[in-house]
């Protein structure tokens, strides 16, 4: 579809070009919703080393999209039901020790992808639509999608706000949480279902293949720059909104795929903060070394003791 065919709303000349297109306004609102929810859920996955669950569930969502397109059903609902079922099954398999966690993820990832490929090959005629789900599309976000995304985002944010103490306890140590009276299994299942919801919401914007990145990368950036659980949660969502909206704007002006732009910006941000942390660490070390060499000249014996304790400390840290 050519951009010139899109009806535009012109509200004076002050309005930047990007806001003059209704589809872009919808895409930006969608980016904000996705930017807030994906990293917020992501924090509880990343800290438990469950980052890859997002990737698995996005492939399941893709299979759901293929089913919806073949049966001509409402795509978000079918994708959500498929993803939520998979999320709950993975959690149950993990808890009941029927399959190791990573093996369960692999089975669902490849199973869903195979199902999607078979369904797509069996039917012709929705290649363009499938493409927009795979890579995300600025123009594909409809008003109905936006309503769904808004409601789901509200539920997710409310859930995370209400259960933030319980969820952080489970993330830190599930056994300690359980002996603190936290209902660990019930909350894990709820988190799995809401992760499914987040993926269903996000895939419209960044696409199935890259949705995992928006769940994981803003959290990694935030963990590097702030301390404290609530602050990490807020900064993760803030980073999410920043990269999603900025990526959308760039993809609009440079005519690039939105999903890829969003994820590349997120990764650039991560590289910047990691390099910043590296420089800070090496500056700190060189200051320490200078201090310790000054000390060696003055009191050789004491300086030796200081070096030993530094080494010990590094070993005791995990």
């Amino acid at each position: 579809m050519c951009l010139c065919m899109i009806p535009t709303i012109r509200i004076g000349n002050l309005m930047p070009e990007i806001f003059q297109y209704e589809f872009m306004n919808r895409a930006i609102v969608a980016s904000v919703l996705v930017g807030v929810t994906a990293p917020a859920i992501g924090m509880f996955l990343v800290l438990r080393r469950l980052s890859l669950i997002a990737d698995t569930l996005s492939h399941v969502a893709f299979a759901g999209v293929a089913v919806a397109l073949i049966t001509k059903s409402f795509t978000p609902i079918v994708a959500f039901i498929a993803t939520a079922t998979a999320a709950v099954s993975i959690e149950e398999l993990r808890v009941r020790r029927l399959l190791p966690g990573d093996a369960a993820l692999a089975v669902f990832l490849y199973g869903a992808l195979a199902l999607a490929v078979v369904l797509i090959s069996a039917s012709d005629g929705f290649n363009t639509t499938i493409f927009s789900y795979l890579f995300g599309s600025l123009m594909s976000v409809s008003t109905t999608d936006l309503w769904w995304m808004g409601i789901l985002a509200l539920v997710i944010v409310l859930f995370l706000f209400m259960f933030r103490f319980e969820l952080t306890q489970i993330t830190f140590d599930p056994d300690l949480a359980k002996t603190n009276g936290v209902r660990v299994h019930m909350l894990n299942l709820s988190l799995a279902i809401l992760t499914a919801g987040t993926i269903t919401v996000s895939m419209r914007v960044v696409g199935v293949l890259l949705v995992g990145a928006l769940i994981v990368i803003p959290v990694l950036v935030s963990i590097r720059v702030v301390k404290g659980l609530t602050l990490t949660l807020i900064v993760s969502s803030g980073m999410g909104v920043f990269v999603a909206v900025f990526g959308m704007v760039i993809s609009f002006y440079a005519d690039l795929a939105p999903g890829g732009s969003v994820v590349l910006i997120a990764i650039s941000l991560l590289i910047i903060v990691e390099i910043g942390a590296l420089i800070k660490r090496s500056l700190f070390r060189s200051t320490q070394l200078m201090q310790s060499s000054d000390h060696t000249h003055a009191h050789e014996f004491h300086a030796h003791g200081a070096n030993e304790s530094t080494t010990d400390e590094r070993h005791s840290h995990r």
């Binding site: 438990r48 319980e166 952080t168 404290g228």
Partner: protein
């Protein structure tokens, strides 16, 4: 009852045996099996109020499993475990229990919580719509950190402190709730000798001054003999259960499967 046992301030009065709701932990014909291989077999004993009970046994003897059964983290394959008179898997009065695991389970090396945030979890008293920590809870958190000697670490990131300091943080977290029962699973694993000594004198105070019932899983026979009042030796089933002064070479030989001699140190040299 000999002099040694009478000199100990914590005693169980058999005449006025407490009601089941007062007994912190009771194992009643408890069995547990992983994939039909028994890990603990037919365990029958109780841990009484005010006791400092040690659970002693070699590696793989089922000590940690026994603790997890006691805390309702595992469900017995048969028999039952009662926590203050209630089956442990249906137990709800969690504010009465403090648990200090062997190590924290979080695997993320950059876990963003501060030490204070983790200790605050101990003040958690169930779900509420608008959770917030009240002023008196804050002072309880301060007191617990003071008692565990980690007040100066309050704002440090959990992942930036040593294993020994993490252990003290977990103790502070358990103490915030002012528990009646403190369960610890090898709490000094990875802590140096000086830290271990400080730790044991702290636990001694908790038991004697605050009258908290202590259950401690340990590898260290010396520590058990010195600190505990009672001891349960387990190697899948119970080899010995009774006051520590009755723990002799025969019981230890049966526990470890090879001859063990008990050497008593000069009292001046018992503390490292």
């Amino acid at each position: 009852m000999n002099d040694d046992f009478q000199s100990n301030p914590i005693q169980v009065d058999v005449e006025s045996f407490p009601g089941p709701e007062k007994i912190p932990i009771r194992f009643d014909e408890t069995w547990f099996a992983y994939d039909s291989v028994p890990v603990v077999r037919d365990i029958n004993f109780s841990i009484m109020p005010g006791e400092f009970a040690a659970i002693l046994g070699p590696n793989g003897s089922g000590k940690t499993t026994l603790m997890k059964l006691a805390l309702g983290l595992l469900k017995p394959s048969s028999g039952r475990v009662l926590l203050f008179g209630e089956p442990s898997d249906n137990f709800t009065d969690w504010h009465r229990i403090g648990y200090v695991p062997q190590r924290i389970q979080t695997t993320e090396y950059r876990f963003p919580a501060s030490v204070r945030e983790i200790v605050q979890f101990g003040a958690y008293s169930g779900f509420s719509f608008f959770p917030s920590f009240k002023h008196n809870e804050n002072s309880r958190v301060d007191d617990a950190m003071e008692l565990a000697g980690i007040r100066d670490l309050a704002d440090r990131r959990v992942s930036d402190i040593s294993v020994g300091q993490q252990q003290r943080m977990l103790i502070a977290r358990a103490l915030v709730r002012r528990p009646d029962l403190l369960v610890m699973d090898e709490p000094v694993a990875g802590v140096d000798a000086a830290g271990e000594d400080q730790f044991h004198s702290m636990v001694r105070r908790l038991n004697r001054d605050l009258e908290i019932t202590i259950v401690m899983v340990s590898h260290d026979i010396g520590v058990v003999m010195r600190e505990a009042t009672t001891c349960a030796c387990i190697n899948q089933d119970i080899v010995f259960h009774g006051p520590v002064h009755q723990l002799d070479a025969n019981a230890l030989s049966a526990l470890y499967g090879f001859p063990v001699d008990v050497l008593m140190h000069d009292p001046d040299h018992t503390h490292r």
